[in-house]
Symmetry: C2
Subunit: 236 residues, 2 copies
DNA sequence: GAGTGGTCTAGACCACGGC
DNA sequence: CCGTGGTCTAGACCACTCA
């Protein structure tokens, strides 16, 4: 095998995470302990953990130890939300569930999630509100298989953060996501829900989110009103 | 001083780049040479270069050496362009200059570029075309001071890549950028140039680009037709 | 074969957090 | 005070590039 040792260590650590031995928020063994158990030097473990913490899969805390990233901490909860107020306000986000149903997935979403067309999914519709103004209309699909028993009540309990729900109730962590953005016109139903005129320009954000091993878990389409907000990114 | 050694090495390397001693595309001294000249170990130089190459300021090439990132290489030229065809086509980009003028900057753009309101800037308008269809209408502002003597002919010569022009003719490298995205309606003038109906929804992408030391150099507003294309990002 | 970056080790010391 | 991650060193060997 010509795979570098630190890559192998990375894979071993990832296996512990995928298998559920180490769970979100857990403190993992120290670098020295890992070095002993994998029979490599501390520097090699360090390099593996370095990369995993760049990928935001692990978090180091000097003096304390290395932890598995979690969506349950306040600061990290809105990690995937790129919408910010153009005036710099920091308003509280609220979520209102519109509908929750079990249905069959269409072929487009099935492709994105590596599911068979027509297989069983949960479909979630909701409105996200900032400062009491409706801003985002979400339509979300997840396979019923890993989320067995999910219901509307559970979603309402977690008020807003689906990713916290996935993690705490099903042990599924969202690690990264792809987004595709278009400008579209608000249709009749959308314009009513977002309280705008029909035909008003809005952002259509299509997102696929992935867990360990780049396995796609969730597809969503977010329709966002960007009159007073904007989508923000950094390019390198 | 409590600044880690490798950060100090990073700063020294950055100074070489800012001062113009090492220019875009140059091969910089080897890790061993740098370690000797800075009186630190090779490992420390390595860590400094590691970070600079993550920031895409330097590029390592095994067996050859470490190079200063350049916009002149084909693959890296469209680094900041996030617009891709929804159908997966890879069409050639062409640029058509609409206007080039020297004018006074308004206060909004002045703030973004750390200029005094009313100071002298070049204003560039152009249309970017993919597969012979107009897709992006750009309006670009840069201070006249670092770009003394710039004219329309120089822009036409470089066909498309302004960043290549900045780098090769003025030694100014764009390292990173912030973008703010909104959905807007096409106004009369815009709709004519992009060959769409008035009021059609388009993306408004506002970008500020930075050089060494996070110094803002260029402000631009890109109006993008996203009927057959989309803006793509990855979230971590 | 010489020179470059890439991996790996062993060991020292520092800075931080918490008992 | 101890254990953690963070920095730094010195030296070995590997993998790649090019003359």
């Amino acid at each position: 095998m010509n795979i570098p040792l630190y890559i192998q260590v990375k894979q071993k650590i990832t296996q512990e995470l995928m298998s559920g031995n180490w769970r979100a928020g857990d403190l993992i063994p120290s670098e020295i302990e890992l070095a002993q158990s994998y029979q490599v030097s501390q520097g090699t473990v360090r390099k593996a953990i370095d990369e995993l913490s760049i990928e935001k899969i692990l978090i180091r805390r000097q003096g304390k130890g290395t932890y598995v990233t979690t969506h349950n901490e306040e600061q990290i909860q809105l990690r995937f939300l790129r919408l910010t107020s153009s005036k710099g306000n920091k308003e509280k986000l609220e979520s209102q569930l519109l509908s929750f149903e079990k249905t069959r997935v269409n072929s487009y979403v099935a492709n994105r999630l590596n599911l068979r067309p027509g297989s069983s999914v949960y479909k979630i519709k909701r409105v996200l509100t900032f400062a009491r103004k409706p801003l985002i209309l979400d339509e979300i699909y997840i396979s019923t298989i890993p989320f067995k028993g999910l219901n509307a009540e559970m979603i309402n309990q977690k008020k807003g953060s689906l990713y916290r729900l996935y993690e705490s109730n099903y042990g599924i962590q969202m690690l990264n996501a792809d987004e595709k953005i278009k400008a579209v016109s608000a249709e009749a139903e959308v314009s009513k829900l977002l309280n705008i005129k029909k035909g008003h320009p809005i952002l259509g954000i299509e997102r696929v989110s992935y867990t360990y091993g780049n396995k796609p878990i969730e597809w969503r389409l977010g329709l966002c009103l960007t009159d007073e907000y904007h989508y923000q990114t950094e390019l390198e």
